[in-house]
Symmetry: C2
Subunit: 214 residues, 2 copies
DNA sequence: CGTCATTTTGAGGTATTTCAACGAAGGTGG
DNA sequence: CCACCTTCGTTGAAATACCTCAAAATGACG
């Protein structure tokens, strides 16, 4: 829920402005270049922000989970496309409606600033992750990143993976095959066990060691 | 100057809060992990935000030029180190002094929001750039990125390059040698001519073609 | 003008990518 | 309920591109 970081008053303010929308799996919320009318906050579920390159390749810039804000615009247009990975609930707010509210409630503006700052840090984190040379290292860091978004899974060592290998590849800047091979290696060495849309950490110390460095 | 996007009143507000500081070339403004007391805005000059990895490698997360804001914190500490590439003028604002001002001037908060949003877009742009397989492609995109920061140089085809090859390598996620070779190739093909801390575009269409795709 | 750092150039090693084919899974319709 | 089909995932072998190590050349600066 979006209430995690907000006061009750702010919740009311936002609730009055925002519309709750349900997005089906694989549904595209908006496309790169479309007029940017809304900003969004992810309630439940997961989405990806991606970009199709002239070469035909696709790059996933970010995965969005609960409480993540998205809908960045440049010159009034979205800079990348957003698609739901599974059935997802979002809250959307008209861009022009947001400004007057921020004028009245600077505290809320501060919250947004914090959120975008968080997004920026996350983006830099991804840059560091993709900078690694080895595919297994990248995948290991990716798994740990996913785990941070599933606080409940920390205890049970289970990691939810709503995205496909192909999407992981587009995010980690690897080929689909390399992701598969890296996963195979982690499984062969009994570090992680992969199931349908989820992973289970078997040997955390070793996972940490593989994910570390670089 | 920072006045580009601000109203006169906002300039006054900020001027009253901010301290003008001069940073010598190679001087480190702050280090990763240090208590984050200030946020900064680059006036004149150029800086780099970097991070030293356990492996000994160094990653440059971003280059900062005129009007760029930096000084992101996480839990009250800077997340990366910042060093000046040459003599640079910055304006710094105490973090605790900023909050009350934003409360009084939501418009200013909006400006900050826009700035951070811009940073985020730039970070994603870098992700796309580093995603390219070929070193020459990455370097070509990098040159075009630099050109966007030197609006005056667009006409004369000159690009200022305050950073060293090594720093470019750490930014593009390449080895220093690869950057050198990529530059050599661009020079050999008469696409770009490199001088001391600057580059001149000879054949823009071809540079665009090399930078395009991926 | 000498010293030191930066940059360039060369050759070999290693990682991922690519191309190709196989196997598995999930959804659809008969 | 099963067969079919499309999508996704896995595995293998060769090619490409960068990385590493090493040494020479260039440039910066006192």
């Amino acid at each position: 829920m979006i209430r995690r970081l907000l006061t009750t008053r702010q919740q009311k303010t936002l609730a009055a402005l925002s519309t709750r929308i349900v997005v089906d799996a694989r549904q595209v919320l908006y496309r790169e270049g479309a007029p940017a009318g809304f900003i969004y906050i992810c309630g439940t579920g997961a989405l990806k922000a991606y970009r199709d390159l002239p070469s035909g390749k696709r790059r996933v810039l970010a995965f969005m989970f609960e409480d993540d804000a998205f809908g960045l615009a440049e010159n009034g247009r979205y800079v990348n496309s957003v698609q739901a990975l599974k059935k997802t609930v979002c809250y959307r707010i008209a861009r022009e409606a947001l400004m007057p509210v921020l004028r009245q409630d600077p505290e809320l503006g501060w919250q947004f600033l914090c959120k975008i700052t968080h997004e920026l840090r996350e983006s830099q984190r991804r840059a560091l992750m993709v900078g690694r040379r080895s595919a297994v290292g990248r995948l290991a860091m990716f798994l740990k990143m996913l785990e941070r978004h599933n606080p409940d899974g920390c205890m049970t060592n289970l990691i939810a993976m709503p995205m496909s290998r192909s999407e992981i590849a587009d995010y980690l800047n690897l080929s689909l095959e390399s992701v598969s091979r890296a996963g195979g290696q982690l499984a062969r060495e009994r570090i992680v066990a992969f199931g349908p849309h989820q992973a289970r950490i078997i040997d955390r110390p070793r996972l940490d060691r593989v994910a570390a460095d670089s």
